[in-house]
Structure formats: C-alpha cells, structure tokens
Amino acid sequence: MSSELESLYQQIILDHAKRRVGQGSVDPSSGAGSELAAGCSTGESHQLNPICGDEVTLRVWLADSRIERVAWEGAGCAISMASASVLTELVSGSTRDDMMEQLDCFRELMRSRGTVVPDEEVLGDAAAFAGVSRFPARVKCAMLAWVALEEAVLAANS
C-alpha cells in the first residue's frame, strides 16, 4: 500500500470513522435532564461542503465558558466523519479558550500543505490529520466539523 495513502488515512482516522463519537441527535433538548446543567447555553451550526455536497450539523452546550457537550449529525467521507468524532472527544470539557486554540492550531495545520509539524499536546488525536494537509481537495473534509464547532460556539454565546 502506498505510504501517501497511509499518511492520509492514519489508523486513528479509520477507527474514528467507524466509531463516530458524538454522532447522534442534535436536538437542543437531547441529553437534557441528565448531566447538563439547566444554565447551559447551546448553539447549532450546519455546514455544507460544496465540493461534494456532504453536510454536518453540530450542536454545543456551554456552561461557564466550558464545553459541556458536543453532538453532531451528518454523513460524509471517512475524513470528515473521523474529524467530527475526534473533535468531539477532544473539546468536550475544554474551556472555550482552549478550544479556540485547538481550532486555530488545527486550521493552521490544515492550511500548511504538509509544512507544519502538528502540536500533539494541543491537538491530541487530531494530530493524526496532519497528512490531510498534503491533499488540498480533502482539507475541507477535515475542517467541516471544526467550522461547524466554531459557529455553534458563536451561536451559543450570542
């Protein structure tokens, strides 16, 4: 198998593409009454990848500037599904500021065309997406859920 391909489809990515952490209902009341404090603010964002037509809808619940929960719906390629899944694991429990740092770091990585070494301390499993940056046509796949997260947080705060 070509190593190009394996740098894109890291095992972590293939696994997350199947596990899909966070995939489920984005209904604002889903999960309510359980661990989520009544004082949570929540926001949703829907993102479309115009190249392929794939879509992700993502919802966040915030309390005290901390991300309490992420849920998402959608269908797409292995990269996009894995990215949504990894992101959910990564940012759940982070502060808003930490999440923003993670997002910036991930975005920079994606735009780098293979020139940036991922900061594993900040990105955790999301560092596995480093190889995607050498496939410009797939960068949007990896970014889809992250852009949705950014907008959902914005929506929750406004």
Partner: protein, 438 residues
C-alpha cells in the same frame, strides 16, 4: 463523416498502444505509479497534433479574425472558418449552423438567453414564435447534468413558464411512458441528454424528438457525452439544437459548440452582443449579422477553434465507428467486472445493455471520495462526487458516486487494473469486515 480515411478493422490493444504515444500526458505517473486515466468523461487528453496546431497558429497566423486587410488577419479568418467547417461536417451540419462557444454550458445558456430575449420582445416579428411566457412549459429529464437543467430553471423563472421533467426509474432509465403525459400542448421546449454522464445510458432520441415534434416543441440535445464517443449525424438525430464541449473530445479547454437548425438561428435574437456580430450601429440601436456571426460577439476563440478542428480530424481519422465499438467493449468489461465485486452497486444499465465506456458505482460502506482517493493511490484517476447531477443522485438514494470513464486511448489492461483496485477498497476501509457501514 466526410473524412473517409479511417481504417475499417476494429480497434485493438496493439493499435491503442500506438495511439497512446500521441498523448504525452498519459506517460505521466500518478502517486508514483503509471497513470491510468479513467476520467475522460470529465475531460479528455490532447494529442500532440492538437497542441501543435495551436502553437503553429500562434507562431504563424495570430491575428483578430473577420476584421483586417493584412494577410495575417486573412489567414486567421481562414483558419477559424476552416475549423468551423471541420466541426460541422464531423456532426453532419452545415458550417453556418455551428456556433463556437466556451463550452457546452455556454451553448445551452445561449439558447436559453436567446429565447429569454425573444420573450422580452427582442428580435421583432421573426423572433415572436420563440417567446415563452406563463402557461408555457419547458421539459427536461431527471437525469440531466446541471448545465442542461439550471439554465432552463432560470429561463422559466424569468419568463413565467413552468419547468417539468421526465422522471427516471430506480435503475436510472427514463420513464418514457410518463414522457408522453409530461410533454403536452403547453410544451415549448424539450431539453435532454443524449448520453447520461452518470449512467452511460444512451437515450432514445428518436422517440423523444417525436413526442416534442407532435406538440411543436423545440428540441435541445446535450451531446457532451455522445459527440466525443459515437458517430453523430445531427440531421439523422433531427434535433433543433445540440451542444457539446471541445475539452471532452481531444480538444483544448475554452471551446465548445452549439449546433442550431438554420431556420431557428436566422430568426432568433442574439445572446452576447458587441463587435463582429453587427452590420450597422448607432448610439440608439444595432442591426445584427446573420448566423453564425450573430451569435459570436467579440474576439473569437481562434486558436481554440483551430485546435478543435485538429482534434476532430484526429477522431475522424481514427474512425468514430471504431472508437464507439472499442469503448462499447471497454464499457462492458467495466460493468461486468464491477458487478462481480461484492458490495458494489453499478448505476444505470446492467451488463449486456447498451452504454458508452463509462460506469458509475457505489461502494457499500465507503464514501465515493474515499474510493477515489484509494484508486488515486494506485495511479488510477477517476471522478467522484455528484458529477453535476445532484437530482439524479438524490433519486438513486445517493449523494455521490465514483465514475470510471474511458476513451480511445484506454486499454483492457487499464480496465483490469482498475477492477483489481476496486476489489481492495472495502477491506482497506474496513467496510467489508463490518458488513457495510463505516
């Protein structure tokens, strides 16, 4: 075709191997492997002769056509009009029935906007029969490329006409039994594709034209996937308009053509306006030249037309009947091979039924973009996505598919290598193991 120099024996791998030498790009590598180019349905590659024709033009004859006394301008004009004649005779039309455009998309928009202008009262009495309004209908099919759908949606929206469509069945075939009901007395225009760019199906042109003719509707044929691959005689097809693109038939980007029946072109108002399409211009109004000039405003795509003329020569010399037959063989090999792979659903006609050398398919549990990426890692270039046919994909329950498409320069070995790679896809993504859902 007037060029009768094509041999009569069938194309075969050894001759294809020689043909491949004419196409420099095919000698490239893709991801470190010899390139297997199975994306000619999107855009074809150019033979050296086409590139040379263009270069020769720039080195010897480059000048603005139809405008000058100097010899360069005369030679440029000759080269341009000669290209028009070559393209015309390639599809069985007269030169004055061929309008050069940027691509098929612009050709289809040209018809839509000319009718739109007629509907706004442009073009006077002669153009009146081409006007549309509320109460009129435009009919398309559910398998159209966006290029043969959205211009009609917009025309309908501008004029108040309604847009209807002939639906497809679960296999993607046109439901002809419904066509007769959809096309009725209100129908002013029927636009449909000759060959589907997703399914490879060859649509029954004669039947559809007969339905349109019965109600006096104009017919517009999207021939993007047929002119490059099948021998075409537009007088036999008997449609009013036909659009195709140069870049899909060994020509450069930036050039396409619209065939239009003379009597229509002579009566229809212009689309783009400007230089080279007028007789007399005052500050208040302009008088327009007859077709084809009326529809070719501004400085033309001269070198691109010259190159397309050269491409058409290449195809005619190889022989369109031979190309059709070779691709029928490759297409059948593609489909039969794909049908034999577990977890693969081929869209469109089953193996054994007529199709061009094109097959789109869905891999159970693996997204089309991942399929394409895997194939690319094996040196195989295919297309993934909705192929500009979202409604058709939606109808077939998909958002995307993977498409392999051939041309005269593809070998059976390439098809076989593609099929082998396809068998590996599901296990790579772990889809076969878990029974179908990533």
């Amino acid at each position: 075709m007037p060029i009768l120099s094509a041999p009569s024996h069938p194309l075969a791998n050894d001759e294809v191997a020689r043909i491949r030498n004419d196409f420099p790009l095919l000698a490239n590598e893709l991801n470190g492997r010899p390139l297997i180019y199975l994306d000619s349905g999107a855009t074809s590659q150019n033979p050296v002769s086409v590139m040379e024709a263009e270069q020769e033009y720039y080195e010897q004859r480059n000048a603005a056509v139809h405008r000058g006394a100097h010899t360069l301008a005369v030679e440029a004009t000759d080269a341009y009009e000669n290209a028009r004649s070559l393209v015309a005779s390639f599809v069985g039309a007269s030169p004055e029935e061929i309008i050069f455009t940027s691509n098929a998309t612009e050709a289809l928009n040209l018809v839509a906007y000319s009718l739109s202008n007629a509907s706004s009262g442009r073009g006077g009495e002669a153009a009146r029969p081409y006007a549309l309004g509320p109460g009129d209908s435009i009919v398309v099919t559910e398998m159209e490329h966006h290029a043969n759908l959205i211009p009609w949606q917009e025309l309908a929206a501008r004029t108040g006409a309604s847009l209807r469509y002939i639906p497809v069945d679960d296999d993607g075939a046109l439901r002809l039994e419904e066509a007769a009901a959809v096309i009725d007395g209100s129908t002013k225009l029927l636009a449909f594709t000759h060959v589907s760019n997703v399914l490879g199906t060859i649509n029954p042109v004669a039947e559809l034209v007969a339905l349109a003719r019965k109600v006096g509707a104009l017919t517009v044929l999207d021939a993007c996937q047929s002119v490059p691959h099948l021998p075409i005689d537009v007088t036999e097809l008997d449609v009013d308009f036909m659009a195709f693109s140069g870049h899909k038939m060994l020509g450069p980007t930036g050039i396409g053509a619209l065939y239009g029946r003379s009597k229509h072109l002579r009566a229809m108002p212009p689309f783009l306006t400007g230089g080279s399409m007028i007789t007399t211009v005052t500050m208040e109004r302009a008088e327009y030249l007859p077709p084809p000039s009326r529809f070719e405003a501004g400085t033309q795509r001269i070198s691109q037309a010259v190159a397309l003329g050269s491409a058409v020569n290449y195809l005619a010399e190889t022989g369109m009947a031979r190309i059709e037959e070779w691709e029928r063989l490759l297409g059948e090999r593609l489909v039969a091979g794909l049908e034999a792979v577990e977890g693969i659903r081929v869209l469109g006609p089953r193996s054994g039924q007529p199709r061009i050398g094109l097959a789109s398919f869905d891999v159970d549990g693996v997204h089309a973009h991942d399929v394409g990426q895997y194939l690319a890692s094996r040196g195989i270039a295919v297309r993934v996505g909705h192929h500009c046919a979202q409604p058709l994909h939606r109808r077939l329950g998909l958002t995307a598919s993977t498409r392999a498409s051939t041309y005269l320069y593809n070998t059976t070995d390439e098809v076989d290598a593609f099929l082998t790679a396809v068998t590996e896809v599901r296990s790579f993504f772990g889809a076969s193991a878990i029974g179908g859902s990533v």
